[in-house]
Symmetry: C2
Subunit: 227 residues, 2 copies
DNA sequence: GAATGTGAAGGTTTTCACAGCA
DNA sequence: TGCTGTGAAAACCTTCACATTC
């Protein structure tokens, strides 16, 4: 928290107008708007209202306007928003006005899926490095990527200026690997290991547990039989 | 909403004590507790306090107790909770006291990763069917599963009593396939298609967009340089 | 003494409703 | 007239603090 962190001067960034922290849900929805605006742009749609933006995602117009209002006033009263302008603004807010270097650790089921994931480059993410600890995999080609030895993790992450790490390893070695990743100076980790990951406060972790996603649904099935 | 949905009489289910809807965050944390209790059980830990349960996940003890209190009183004052009892209770709440039949639609990158995902059977999910529309894949073996023709989707889902569908297809055909799935009577869908999915109100959808997960992190990187 | 279970307080997020502008 | 931008109200969620129980 607090008033730390002056922005790099080179980019005049859109940031929250007041000092209030922006909620996770708002960030999530901004991402959603950004994705939808991309679809609309491809369709050739020029302008869009908060009402339309909301309906297409099952949200409320007020919600859409409030989310955007934290960062500025991007619309035109009586008219709505310019699809391409709004998309650019949101891209700037969530950091999609640049490309990001990604490393994938673990070339098992999920790891190899993500390496071959065509959506990533379209959305600004370039998988630059791939690691494993299995001698049979190291050096081999996996969907066009050469698999590196995890023993060189720290050095390779630094040398290649990796911004984001995707962790696709079992739970048992996960924390130890994360410690290495943190030591390499990486500040953002997307983990698929089904266990809690501990990091210093200046490092961001997002944990994805596929089974937990399904459990959400089973809860709903079991508890809302009719809905 | 409303008072619909009497429970099936055969299972005496733990349900919310008051009529207030349980929040998504609570369900998510119950899943987390369940996972952690599993680890503790393997370690041979017999009892656990809300304080411990909280610290291991970076939550507060009050939060843990409140979450549980919506469903009953499972602890012993002065002592804490029995690891194995609490785990069983939570399993019952989120529907993990039974097994679930899953179908995976789309045998691309993510689809095939999930088919081979060993964590699923450990957590109660059995992948029973796998579909694709690619003639070269249909009939072939993918990680031990025979790939079915998506043209028989509706019939096969019904015949095999599929509870949950995992959708791992591109955005463009996603909605059409979902309509089929819904017509087959399936009430829960986990979608990896990076687009909004529309379903009737008695069907539950959870959407996972890998790029959006990364975007969360880029927002943090760009906006909290020092944190 | 130790830790649960829970009303009440405090904080955050969403929705409302309308002033203001194209 | 139509739709944005935004304070204020309402709903919701988390934390506090303490009576209660083992």
């Amino acid at each position: 928290m607090g008033e730390s962190g002056q922005q790099s001067a080179s980019i005049e960034r859109l940031k929250p107008q007041d000092k209030r922290r922006i909620s996770d849900s708002t960030i999530h929805r901004l991402s959603l708007y950004h994705r939808l605006l991309g679809e609309l742009e491809s369709d050739g749609t020029k302008t869009v209202s908060s009402k339309q933006l909301a309906e297409l995602q099952r949200l409320t117009p007020a919600q859409v306007r409030k989310d955007l209002s934290f960062f500025g006033a991007f619309g035109t009263r009586g008219l709505g928003y310019s699809v391409s302008d709004l998309r650019k603004k949101i891209a700037e807010i969530i950091g999609l006005d640049r490309r990001w270097n990604v490393a994938v650790i673990g070339v098992g089921n999920i790891g190899s899926a993500l390496i071959g994931f065509k959506e990533f480059p379209n959305r600004g993410f370039d998988v630059k490095l791939v690691f494993d600890n299995d001698q049979r995999k190291i050096g081999s080609n996996h969907k066009g990527m050469r698999v590196s030895d995890i023993r060189n993790l720290k050095e390779d992450l630094k040398a290649n200026q990796i911004d984001l790490v995707i962790l696709a390893v079992p739970s048992s070695p996960a924390q130890k690997i994360v410690d290495e990743v943190v030591a390499a100076g990486v500040k953002a980790i997307l983990s698929f290991a089904p266990t809690h990951i501990d990091v210093p406060p200046d490092v961001y972790v997002r944990s994805e547990d596929m089974s937990m996603e399904l459990e959400y649904l089973t809860y709903a099935l079991v508890n809302n039989p009719g809905k």
